[in-house]
Symmetry: C2
Subunit: 375 residues, 2 copies
Amino acid sequence: MAVDDTPPPRRSRRGHGRATLADVARVAEVTKVTVSRYLREPAKVAAATAERIRAALASTGYVPNKQAGLLASGRSNIVAALIPNLSHSIFGETVQALSEALQAAGHELLLASTGYSPEREEEQLRALLGWAPLGLVVTGRHHTDGTRRLMADAHAAGTPVVEVWDYQLDEASPFAQIGFNHAQVGRAMARHLLAAGHRALAYVDSGVDTDFRAHERGAAFADEARRAGASIRLQRAAKGDPFDAGRQALRELLSAGPDASSTGNSVPGNTALPGRPSAVACANDHLACGLLMQAQAQGLRVPQDLAVLGFGDFPVGRQLQPALSTVHPPSQQIGWATAQALLAALQSGSAPVGQALPWQLIVRGSTLAHPLAKT
Amino acid sequence: MAVDDTPPPRRSRRGHGRATLADVARVAEVTKVTVSRYLREPAKVAAATAERIRAALASTGYVPNKQAGLLASGRSNIVAALIPNLSHSIFGETVQALSEALQAAGHELLLASTGYSPEREEEQLRALLGWAPLGLVVTGRHHTDGTRRLMADAHAAGTPVVEVWDYQLDEASPFAQIGFNHAQVGRAMARHLLAAGHRALAYVDSGVDTDFRAHERGAAFADEARRAGASIRLQRAAKGDPFDAGRQALRELLSAGPDASSTGNSVPGNTALPGRPSAVACANDHLACGLLMQAQAQGLRVPQDLAVLGFGDFPVGRQLQPALSTVHPPSQQIGWATAQALLAALQSGSAPVGQALPWQLIVRGSTLAHPLAKT
DNA sequence: TTGTAAGCGTTATCAA
DNA sequence: TTGATAACGCTTACAA
């Protein structure tokens, strides 16, 4: 019985104290292959041998070196994901679901945050690709050309690539999308307020320049309002504390009269005066909460004097008086569905399948019917 | 001039479409070593050669395989971090700071969430160790024996290990701690309320069984209250929406009279009746916000009838009326200081140095002086 | 059931 | 300034 197939432990120039397969093999008095085999298919090793190997494993404190393993097997078990912001709960739920589903299937999640910067996204993607991930998850469909090229290369090489948190058909794009259509959400938000009788709307957009999805919701919101002949004002939120930004946005909406930034004027058939809006939609619930509280602080009644609509369905919105109407995005489902799509693609060897997931407009007290509504 | 040192591209059994160093070398008409050298020390390659290599790099779309690189060099650039919950903003800030500081130094962050489960922590740590990280970051000082053993092995092998978000001297523990002392915070919270004249205190603890740090703050809070002769009730928050849990906790505190769970009775010198508390401290700001709003909904004036104190300094707390008094933890600093400590330890080859970071008790409207305070 | 040999893609060492 | 060669620690294919 051969005992070991590597030269004596003549510590070479490299190597870091940790036990290797060879060390375990030496202790167990078998060869590396047998130990490796035991680790992957214990059933294929004789009981007595297995026993010795178990003991050797324990006594050496062996931890397999993944670099070596993945290099040898030629395939990693890593899924790489690029997320705008880790500390933002809206993506947190997606990541949590993705992470759990992948972990359950024996994969590991390598995560990087881009800080909403397309340039950092490209840089991070390049770094993550070095791990030869077997799957790739990126947020949204807006990327630098470089990012798109890297994604296309990966796609061409058979690596499943999924864009999450968006869903917008684009013949030119080969990537699977798992998310929802933000323009649809924006339109639905506008229709909800229009149906309640509002003719003077406003949208408080995200203060983050590259939060493309929030901008899209805003653009669609404005478009729908104009089509209905309502006036619409777009206000950009300030950076910093989102509650404060919401408060400030309201102050600016109320102080500024009909002005050049009011885009409602130029729309043919506009029937409403572009003065104070009677309903405001926000890019996220934090902005909406701040705005709602500020409105009340200024003596406005919500929803009678001002209706407020958010996005994201954050827990705090339910606590306000009145509770905040909002859109509930499929945050968790996106993570779960993405994991499933990746796993299925890996199994079948085909490209992952995109899908649109359902969101929900949740009507609470902050947008109850407007007094002027024609019911 | 040798052009390549690998056999013709006879696609062997393994290998995945991607370009390798050998491919680049073939195109650039040099050997792998030269390309590798160019990648690491461009100055050591002749200008003309460098030019050809640059072109080859671009045309092949080469991305270095890290598995191979790290295996060959014997050292990774990975720092592994274990965090209870990624979607919890309090750790989000730490991770963000840690990630940015490490990235700036050319390291990569491999992240895993434990869901506050010590068992998952051990499991994840085992998985992360397979990447042979050059640094290890774990949250807190409470671990399974297995986790402690893995950490000790890594420490013994010269890998810097840092416990974050805690700081409690322990002769027996060899690991550096970077954080703050939660017992101190708990005592300070109690003293703040005692100084305002409160004699009947309560602490609403985290609903997560393994949120050891919240429990420690609660235990110290209770101890300090008892020493001062005040009554103290400990209430465990329910699971689920933390705002709702806070609301419910208050209802339970108010409905239950002096009962067995009131631990204030047995304290010698207790001068107050253990009835309704006049001040409540919470394990986090979300609980405190829910509790504060519930108090107002029930007609209690804050802080006159009930003072409320939180922990974490979440943005929402500033928005309440009155604003929430709270403790501001050094979330970001922990991340930054941890990165610095790891980098310094790696450079010097010595163990990382722990440090206590300053937190701050922020007094806002929710705990202004009690009417009975003896000023 | 176990072992031998070759190779994964890179870097370190030394020689030219 | 560049190249030849030998690792790094593991898995795969095939032989015994």
